[in-house]
Amino acid sequence: MTQVSFEASFQKKIDEEIMIEPQDYMPDEYRKTLIRQISQHAHSEIVGMLPEANWITRAPSLRRKAVLLAKVQDEGGHGLYLYSAAETLGITRDQMLHQLHTGAAKYSSIFNYPTITWADMGAIGWLVDGAAIMNQVPLCRTSYGPYARAMVRVCKEESFHQRQGYEIMLSLAKGTPVQKQMAQDALNRWWAPALMMFGPLDAVSPNTAKSMEWRIKRFTNDELRQRFIDVTVEQIRILGLELPDANIKWNEERGHYDSSELNWDEFWNVVKGNGPCNKERLATRVKAWEDGAWVREAASAYAEKRKTKKAA
């Protein structure tokens, strides 16, 4: 088969919604794009553990402590599934972690914001996980088999994450005046960053077209962002909180909510490394990795010794 026909039959599979598996032919660009997307998704889960792990020891009830611990643990698990999916493409986990630690790979910018009140736990579970779910559900039918299967697992587990966040917000919003204020404050701070999770405007997203052709991306940034706004405004009303953006208004003609232009200056700066917590988040991960080197080496050495003993 010629190169052209390899690529043609590859695209045919994609168009017919047949999954591409690890040993199938795939264009170099497809492989590279997938490695980048999946590994950065994995990095996001791992770094994403940190802002919430912050509050486990300070959770205001034993039940909240246990649920938060379970949620953050899940995120670790999700990172693990995704690293595993990426490894089928010819990169190792250690190589991916090296990319993260040196800044060669990115993670979702939302995690560069600080969690400064308990209400942030509610806002994150509700808005951040909510936005992630909106991105992730379509990926359950993405073209690359291992990625799709990892996403199915992730989505199954994700449903309790958003619910626990919303439940926290509900408790606070229906609680005492100061608790309601705490909830409102968290909503006000996390709203715009959550919307930025969907990425830059379609107009300035060069990779989108190819990714959509390859079914690595199913909907555009703006499509998902609009869907999220429409769904979440209703949820804000149920909480009885004020809208975080004075310009949110139903547009009968479009059949969607209008809202304010996002601060793209802030977006690009956080992506560049100037967010409130970029340095801290990465430093925490790097420290954990470096402090743990002797532990990993010891386990490898022990395993090696057992092998030699067995062989003897």
């Binding site: 039940r63 643990q73 670790g76 990993r296 080496e297």
Partner: protein, 274 residues
């Protein structure tokens, strides 16, 4: 048999697992490898779950006690006030409103996480004790404690496996890991004596056939610990003196800081639902 004895005994058991679970939870997101992060948080979740069952039982006992018997239970004004005003006490009231001098956990569990070897050492020493304790507690005449012990024992069987295997892996891994593991065992050993020293509450609970004679567990403990230490090709740690006090409310400086962190929200915003 007074319900005060059951209450105090239950609180002591609960405090141990709450403080231990709290310590392990602090590792979340910071382990040496992702898989172990998940393993440790599993153990923490188990222990917090055990703490919840025990605190819930303790709260039930308090709520069913005649007012006269519970007029001076704790040195914690907010909590004692709730009790005296006939409010229904919950697991959270007990976990969040008592100060360090009302906690009865052993000193071992409040020791710092340190590095991986220190954390492994603390779990190794504590979980092996829990295993022997819960096995014996299954025979408690108090059916709730017996049931909690039976359920917890299954979880602890996994905990001791995890900790013992790490002691062996580190002890028989590299020269560096051997040194670190030996050092950690040596540093934490002096907190193990307290586990087997019966305090007044344990004496009373034992007399009432609801509690375990922990002093009788020491021999089996010593043997089992030694077996693992030997397999790890390490030396049994020694202690010229065993530290005690936690079981009588006299803690190390660590507990105060732990509680300040753990309880701050409930203290800063009292009497609210979360």
């Amino acid at each position: 048999m007074s319900s005060i004895t059951t209450l105090k005994y239950t609180l002591q058991l609960a405090d141990n697992v709450l403080i231990m679970g709290q310590r392990l939870a602090a590792w979340c997101g910071k382990g040496p490898v992702l898989e172990q992060d998940i393993a440790l948080t599993n153990i923490s979740l188990d222990q917090i779950g055990q703490a919840r069952s025990l605190y819930q039982y303790a709260a039930l006992i308090i709520n069913n006690m005649p007012a006269a018997d519970k007029a001076h239970l704790f040195n914690a004004p907010l909590l004692q006030e709730k009790i005296n005003n006939q409010h229904t006490i919950t697991e959270d009231d007990l976990a969040y409103l008592r100060d360090a001098w009302d906690f009865r956990n052993c000193l071992l569990v409040e020791q710092e996480n340190g590095d991986w070897a220190y954390t492994v050492a603390r779990s190794f020493f504590f979980d092996r004790f829990q295993y022997l304790l819960y096995a014996a507690l299954q025979k408690s005449m108090d059916s709730t404690l017996a049931a909690i012990a039976e359920k917890s024992l299954k979880e602890v069987q996994y905990h001791i496996k995890w900790a013992s295997e790490w002691v062996i892996r580190l002890g028989d891994g590299t020269a560096i890991s051997k040194e670190k593991m030996q050092q950690a065992l040596q540093a934490r050993w002096e907190y193990t004596g307290e586990l087997f020293a019966m305090n007044a509450i344990e004496q009373a609970a034992m007399q009432a056939n609801i509690g375990v004679d922990v002093s009788s567990l020491q021999q089996a403990y010593q043997q089992q610990i030694e077996a693992i230490v030997n397999e790890a090709s390490l030396q049994m740690p020694t202690a010229a003196w065993m530290q005690t006090g936690g079981k009588n409310g006299v803690h190390t400086e660590h507990l105060g800081y732990m509680l300040a962190e753990m309880q701050y929200l409930q203290r800063a915003y009292p009497n609210m639902e979360w």
